[in-house]
C-alpha cells in the first residue's frame, strides 16, 4: 500500500513539476526571451555562488583537518614508520598549499570574470614563459619527492638483519595464525598438501627446523626493539596483513612467500598511556577482499618487553609437542637437504625467499 502511494505521489510530483516548468518557459517566451538563455543576472548569481560555495568548501576542508586531527593513527610504533610519517607530512606540506592556491585562483577567476555584455575577454592563447614555469616548477618539486620517497622505500625494503626474529603469518579464510621459528630461528618447511587435522599450517614434521616452531592464535606477541622478519603465507585466496600502527602491510598470496620486516618500538603498555586509552590494542587486519568475513579477520598484537615476551613464548608448546612429530624428525634432520629434493614441488621452503630481493 505504501509502495503504491509512493508511486502515485512521485508520479503526481513529476507531472506537477513538468507543468510548472512549462508555464515558466512559456512565460519567458511571451516576454520574447528564451527562458533557457543565460542572462546577465544568471551569470552574476552563479559567479557569486561559485565564490560562496568555494569559500564554504575551503572552510569545510580546514574544518575537516581540524576535526580529524585527533582521530588519526597515533605515533608510529615501528622504527621505519617514523620515517614514512615524516615523508607523509612533507608530502602533505607540498600538496596542501597547492590545493589552496589553485582553488583560490579557480574560485576567484570564476567569480570575477562572469559575463557582462560590455566586456570583452582578453585574447591570450599562449605564453612560452608561463608554460615553462608550470612545467619546470612541478618537475623540480616532484623530483625532490621522488628521490626522498625512493630512498625511504629502499631503506624499508632492504634485507632484514641476520638476527631478526623470524615469524610466519599464515592467512586463511577468515583468521590468522602466527608461527615462531623457535630456538634455531628457522621455520620448518610446510606445504599445503600436508594440512591435516591439528596441523593447520601444513608443517612438515619431518623437517628438523619444524620441531621447535611455536604456533600462536588470537594473539601475536612481539618483543619491543627487536627486529621481526615476517614471512607471509595464504592457503586459499589473497589476504593482506595490515598492521596500521606499525605502518606495515604485505599481501599474503597462495603459492608464494612474501616478506616484510620491522622493529616495534613502543610496547602496548606505553601506547595505552600515550593514547590515554587503557583498552588500546595493536591490531592485525585483513586488507585484501577475501570473502564474507573479510571485515572481521583480525588478530591482536601485543608488544612487550623482551623478558615478558620470552616468558610468554616459553609457556607455549612446541610443534613437536603439539603434533608429536619429534621422533620422525630426529631421524630426518641430517638429511634435511635430501628431504627438500624429495619433497613435493609445491612445498614452500623458507630458504628460497631470497629470490624476492633484487
Amino acid at each position: 500500500m505504501t509502495g503504491f502511494l509512493t508511486i502515485v505521489v512521485v508520479t503526481l510530483g513529476v507531472i506537477l513539476l513538468g507543468k510548472v516548468l512549462k508555464i515558466f518557459e512559456l512565460s519567458g517566451e511571451l516576454r520574447g526571451a528564451d527562458a533557457n538563455a543565460v542572462t546577465t543576472k544568471d551569470n552574476r548569481t552563479q559567479g557569486a555562488l561559485v565564490m560562496l560555495f568555494g569559500l564554504g568548501f575551503l572552510a569545510f576542508v580546514i574544518h575537516q583537518f581540524y576535526k580529524f586531527k585527533d582521530m588519526m593513527l597515533p605515533v608510529s610504533a615501528s622504527e621505519h614508520g617514523v620515517q614514512t610519517d615524516m615523508l607523509l607530512s612533507v608530502s602533505f606540506w607540498v600538496i596542501i598549499p597547492m590545493f589552496f592556491i589553485t582553488h583560490i585562483l579557480l574560485i576567484y577567476f570564476a567569480y570575477k570574470y562572469y559575463y557582462r555584455p560590455e566586456r570583452k575577454a582578453t585574447f591570450f592563447a599562449h605564453s612560452t614563459k608561463l608554460e615553462l614555469i608550470w612545467t619546470v616548477v612541478p618537475t623540480v618539486v616532484l623530483t625532490t619527492l621522488i628521490v626522498y620517497g625512493i630512498s625511504t622505500w629502499n631503506k624499508i625494503m632492504a634485507p632484514a638483519a641476520e638476527d631478526a626474529m623470524v615469524v610466519e603469518l599464515y592467512a586463511k579464510q577468515f583468521d590468522w595464525t602466527g608461527r615462531y621459528a623457535g630456538e634455531d630461528n628457522k621455520l620448518g618447511r610446510s606445504g599445503y598438501r600436508l594440512i591435516e587435522g591439528a596441523n593447520v599450517l601444513g608443517v612438515d614434521m619431518t623437517d628438523g627446523h619444524a620441531q621447535d616452531d611455536k604456533v600462536a592464535r588470537g594473539e601475536l606477541h612481539l618483543p619491543v626493539n627487536k627486529e621481526v622478519s615476517f614471512k607471509f603465507h595464504s592457503r586459499d585466496v589473497i589476504h593482506s596483513a595490515y598492521m596500521p600502527h606499525f605502518r606495515t602491510q604485505m599481501n599474503c598470496v597462495p603459492g608464494m612467500t612474501t616478506q616484510f620486516h620491522f622493529k616495534p618500538t613502543i610496547t602496548t603498555e606505553q601506547m595505552r598511556k600515550e593514547t590515554n586509552n587503557p583498552e588500546f590494542d595493536y591490531i592485525l587486519l585483513c586488507n585484501k577482499i577475501c570473502g564474507s568475513a573479510h571485515y572481521n579477520m583480525q588478530m591482536t598484537i601485543i608488544v612487550e618487553s623482551e623478558e615478558d615476551f620470552n616468558k610468554w613464548l616459553e609457556g607455549k608448546k612446541t610443534l613437536a609437542q603439539e603434533l608429536g612429530g619429534a621422533d620422525v624428525a630426529v631421524d630426518a634432520q641430517p638429511h634435511a637437504d635430501a628431504a627438500i629434493d624429495a619433497h613435493d614441488d609445491a612445498t614452500t621452503d623458507s630458504d628460497s625467499l631470497d629470490v624476492q630481493h633484487p
Binding site: L21, G47, F57, I95, F99, F124, G149, I238, Y242, A346
Partner: protein, 591 residues
C-alpha cells in the same frame, strides 16, 4: 572516400524503416544517443546499488525493510548479507567504470563529436559502429542480469583478483555470477575495440579540407588518444579474462597454486595470482585515463567556449594528453606495491607514477589561465567543467601520496584510495560527462535543457560529492580498510560511526539530486524549448549543421576549415567568436 560522401548528400532524405532509424541505426548521431541513454540507465542502476550498500555502512546492522523488498533473501530482516554487500560493491564499480564512464562517455561523445567536429558525413564504418553499440548493449544486459543469479553476482571487487574470483568455494558470487561477469566483460571489450578502431580511422582519414591535426578541437584529440589507449590495452584485459576463464572451467593453473580450501587441497600448482594483477593493471591504469581524457577534452572545449577565450596553451594541452597517455602504460605497478613484487620495481613505478603529475599540473594551470580575464557565461555545462577542474586538482594531488611506494604501504586498500579515485576519476569523469550533456544536448535533441534545474543539479551534486568523498581521506589515514562490510568489528574505528552516517546522508542527497537531471533530460527531449543552431556561439563545426538531424550531417557541401577552433574574442573582431569555417580576412593572421 570523398566520392562516397558526395554521393551521400544527393539523397539525404531517403525513407528509413523504424528499425533502421531507431534500433539498428548506422547513423553516428543516433548511435551516440543510444549510448547515452543506455549509460544513463546503467548509471541509475550503479547509483542505486551504492545507495543500498551505503545504508549498511552508515547504519551497520540496522534493519531497512526496503532492502528486503528489493533484495529478498540477500537482506533477511532488512539487514544486508555480507556476501551481497561485496556483490553490490563489485557490480557498482564495474558498471560505473566500464558501462557508464568508458562505454557511455566515449561511446556518446566520440560518436557525436568526431564526425561533426572534423567535418565528416559519418564514421568510417557505420556498420561496425552499430555493432559496437549492440555489443555494448548486450554486455550491459548480461551484467544487469547477473544481479539476479541464485548464488549472487560476482563479488570479488571490480578488479576480480583470483583465486577469490576463480573459486566458487571461496565466495558464492564466484559461481555463475562471475561467469556472467566474464561474459559481459568479453562483450564489452569487443564493443570497445570495434568502437575504438572506428574512431581512430575516422579521425585519421575523414577530416574535411583544412582540418589539419593542429586545428582539431581538443575534444577530438582527447577522444582519439582515448581510443588508442583502449585499442592497446583492452586486448590485454581480454587475455587476463581468458586465462581466468580457463582456470575456472578447464582446470588450468595460470593463476592458481597450492590452494587448500573447503577442506580440500586443489591440484593446481605453479600458477600465480600476481600474474593476473599485472595483466589486469596493464589495462587498469590506462583505463582510468580512458575514462578521464574524454572528460578533460570536453572541459577544454566547454571552458574555452564559455569563457569566450581561446584555450590557453593549445599545443601544451595536446602535448600533455600525449604525455599522460604514454606514461599511463608504465605506471601500473603502483597498484601492486605491497603484493610482494620485487622492491626495485616499486622504485621504478614510484618514479614513473609521480611523473604523471607534471602533465596533469600543466593541464590545471592551463584551465586556470583560460578562465583568467575571460568573460564567463555560466551555463550548467560551464559549472560542471569548473567542477571538474576542482575535483581533478583535489584528487590528483592525493595521487602524489599514493604513488609514493613508501607511503602506499600504509594506505593501500584503505578509504584513502577510495577517496582518491572517486574524486579524481569518478567525480571528474561524471562532471565531464554532465558538462558534455548540457553543452551538446541542443545538438543531440534540437532542444534546450532547463537551465535552472541544471544549476540546482550542479550545486547539489558537487556538495554531495565532496560531502561523501572528502572525509574518506581521513578514514583511510586512520587505517580503515576498503571493502569492509562494517567497521564494527574493531573498537579502534568506533570514532568514525557518525562520520559514516553523515557520508551516507550525503550519498542519498547526491542520489536524489540525480533525479533532477534525469527528469530534466527526458522532459527536455520532448518538451524543451527549441534550440537555435549555435546556442553557445561556438566555433566548432558541429554548430554549422542544421538543428534537425539529417543523414550525412550537412545538407550541402562539407564546410572547409580555415582556422583553429579557438578564435574567441579576437581583438581585431567585433564579434567574440569566429567559427572555424570563416575564411581569414585579407591581412588576418591565422593563429
Amino acid at each position: 572516400m570523398a566520392e562516397h560522401h558526395d554521393n551521400h548528400h544527393h539523397h539525404p532524405h531517403h525513407e528509413e524503416g523504424f528499425l533502421s532509424k531507431w534500433v539498428f541505426s548506422q547513423d553516428h548521431k543516433m548511435i551516440s544517443k543510444q549510448f547515452l541513454v543506455t549509460a544513463i540507465i546503467m548509471g541509475v542502476v550503479g547509483m542505486l546499488l551504492s545507495t543500498m550498500f551505503r545504508l549498511q555502512l552508515g547504519w551497520p546492522g540496522q534493519s531497512f525493510p526496503i532492502l528486503e523488498t528489493i533484495l529478498g533473501k540477500w537482506a533477511p530482516d532488512g539487514v544486508l548479507d555480507p556476501n551481497m554487500y561485496l556483490a553490490l560493491v563489485t557490480i557498482h564499480g564495474t558498471i560505473i567504470v566500464f558501462m557508464v564512464l568508458t562505454g557511455g562517455l566515449s561511446g556518446t561523445f566520440a560518436n557525436l563529436l568526431i564526425p561533426l567536429q572534423i567535418g565528416a558525413r559519418d564514421m568510417a564504418s557505420g556498420f561496425i559502429n552499430m555493432l559496437s553499440y549492440w555489443f555494448f548493449f548486450l554486455s550491459s544486459a548480461v551484467m544487469f542480469a547477473s544481479l539476479f543469479v541464485e548464488t549472487g553476482p560476482a563479488s570479488g571487487g571490480w578488479t576480480v583478483y583470483p583465486p577469490l574470483s576463480a573459486l566458487p568455494q571461496a565466495i558464492p558470487g564466484s559461481g555463475l555470477g562471475m561467469t556472467l561477469w566474464l561474459v559481459s566483460m568479453s562483450l564489452f571489450i569487443v564493443s570497445s575495440l570495434l568502437g575504438g578502431l572506428n574512431y581512430i580511422v575516422t579521425v585519421i582519414n575523414l577530416r574535411t579540407k583544412g582540418m589539419s591535426m593542429w586545428r582539431l578541437p581538443l575534444t577530438v584529440w582527447a577522444l582519439l588518444i582515448t581510443a588508442v589507449l583502449g585499442v592497446l590495452s583492452f586486448p590485454v584485459l581480454f587475455s587476463a579474462a581468458l586465462l581466468l576463464i580457463f582456470d575456472r572451467s578447464l582446470g588450468t593453473s595460470f593463476y592458481l597454486s597450492e590452494i587448500h580450501i573447503g577442506g580440500q587441497a586443489l591440484e593446481n600448482v605453479g600458477g600465480s595470482p600476481i600474474l593476473y594483477e599485472h595483466l589486469f593493471w596493464f589495462l587498469g591504469h590506462p583505463e582510468v585515463y580512458i575514462i578521464l581524457l574524454p572528460a578533460l577534452g570536453i572541459t577544454s572545449e566547454v571552458i574555452s567556449t564559455n569563457s569566450r577565450k581561446p584555450i590557453f596553451g593549445y599545443k601544451a594541452m595536446v602535448g600533455s594528453i600525449l604525455a599522460i597517455a604514454f606514461l599511463s602504460f608504465i605506471v601500473w605497478g603502483h597498484h601492486m606495491f605491497v603484493t610482494g613484487m620485487n622492491p626495485f620495481l616499486g622504485s621504478v613505478f614510484t618514479f614513473t607514477t609521480l611523473l604523471v603529475a607534471i602533465p596533469s599540473a600543466v593541464k590545471v594551470f592551463n584551465y586556470l589561465t583560460t578562465l583568467w580575464k575571460g568573460n564567463i557565461v555560466f551555463t550548467p555545462g560551464t559549472l560542471f567543467a569548473i567542477g571538474l577542474v576542482s575535483t581533478f586538482i583535489t584528487g590528483g594531488l592525493t595521487g602524489i601520496i599514493l604513488g609514493d611506494s613508501a607511503l602506499d604501504i600504509n594506505i593501500h586498500d584503505t578509504y584513502f584510495v577510495v577517496a582518491h579515485f572517486h574524486i579524481v576519476m569518478g567525480a571528474s569523469a561524471i562532471f565531464g560527462m554532465f558538462a558534455g550533456v548540457y553543452h551538446w544536448f541542443p545538438k543531440m535533441y534540437g532542444r534546450m535543457m532547463n537551465k535552472n534545474l541544471g544549476y540546482m543539479h550542479f550545486w547539489l551534486t558537487i556538495t554531495s560529492v565532496y560531502g561523501v568523498f572528502f572525509p574518506m581521506h581521513f578514514l583511510g589515514l586512520a587505517g580503515i580498510p576498503r571493502r569492509y562490510y562494517s567497521n564494527t568489528a574493531f573498537p579502534l574505528f568506533d570514532d568514525f560511526i557518525d562520520v559514516n552516517s553523515m557520508i551516507s546522508v550525503f550519498a542519498i542527497i547526491g542520489a536524489v539530486a540525480q533525479v533532477i537531471f534525469i527528469f530534466n533530460f527526458f522532459y527536455s527531449i520532448y518538451k524543451g524549448n527549441k534550440a537555435t543552431q549555435n546556442p553557445w556561439k561556438s566555433n566548432t563545426l558541429e554548430w554549422t549543421t542544421p538543428v534537425e538531424h539529417i543523414h550525412g550531417n550537412w545538407p550541402g557541401a562539407i564546410p572547409e576549415v580555415q582556422r583553429w577552433a579557438y578564435d574567441y574574442s579576437r581583438p581585431d573582431k567585433d564579434q567574440d567568436f569566429v567559427p572555424q569555417d570563416v575564411p581569414l580576412e585579407p591581412g588576418e593572421e591565422a593563429h
